[in-house]
């Protein structure tokens, strides 16, 4: 998906994990995924470089769909769809 497409997505859940370092964002994502339904889209806001690779890998491994990452000023947004 392009950055524009990602930005235009309607998300069912937004997790702001910018205040934490690794493994905080991953743990926050793991917790939040249990709170949404199948097919729902979740965005995770993080400023932790390790998370940028961790969450997409984790999402795919768990059978969810990693949709893409959008760079913002000083942080990024990771988009995923729950299986």
């Amino acid at each position: 998906m392009t950055t524009e497409e990602l930005k235009a997505l309607t998300v069912q859940k937004s997790v702001d994990a910018r205040g934490t370092a690794c493994p905080g964002p991953l743990l926050a994502a793991k917790k939040a995924i249990g709170e949404i339904g199948s097919g729902d889209i979740m965005e995770i806001l993080s400023a932790d470089e390790g998370t940028k690779k961790d969450i997409p890998k984790w999402a795919n491994k768990k059978g969810h769909e990693y949709m893409g990452t959008v760079e913002e000023a000083g942080y990024f947004k990771i988009y995923m769809k729950k299986a």
């Binding site: 934490t20 370092a21 690794c22 493994p23 905080g24 991953l26 743990l27 994502a29 917790k31 491994k61």
Partner: protein, 142 residues
């Protein structure tokens, strides 16, 4: 459903930095839906005693006591949970069991599960640890 992968950790160290590292590893395993069995041995058992855990900043560092202040300050600045909080989070996420070795417990005056922080599930013998180590997909000694 596929069975969860298993992690077995022999947690021997009672130092602040290693306990924090163990907490990060366990919570990572929890995020990956692993079943985790932690066996708390020797020095680590001391850190799990209620009165010690309440004052975790007094725990020693593994190698260099001179960097303790910097270590603690950095953890706080980066908003990193305490080692106990990591263990608590991991337990919330997945099947994490904390077993205290009976000998280790006795060494620090803890014979019963109530002598330790609430995280502790039971007191065990070495046989249980060996069995878990044999069955584990990942085995760590920290």
């Amino acid at each position: 459903m596929e069975e969860n992968k298993k992690m077995c950790m022999a947690l021997h160290s009672g130092s602040l930095d290693r306990l924090t590292g163990a907490g990060v590893v366990i919570s990572g395993a929890a995020a990956d839906d692993m079943d985790v069995d932690v066996y708390v041995l020797l020095q680590a058992a001391r850190a799990f005693k209620k009165e010690i855990a309440d004052d975790y900043e007094k725990l020693p560092m593994t190698e260099n006591e001179d960097i303790k202040e910097e270590f603690i300050a950095s953890l706080k600045k980066l908003n990193v949970p305490t080692w106990i909080e990591f263990f608590e989070m991991a337990k919330e996420l997945t099947n994490v069991k904390i077993h205290v070795c009976s000998l280790a417990g006795k060494m620090w005056g803890g014979e019963k599960v109530e002598d330790f922080v609430d995280l502790v599930d039971d007191i065990c013998g070495i046989g249980e640890y060996i069995e878990a180590a044999q069955e584990a997909d990942v085995h760590l000694f920290i």
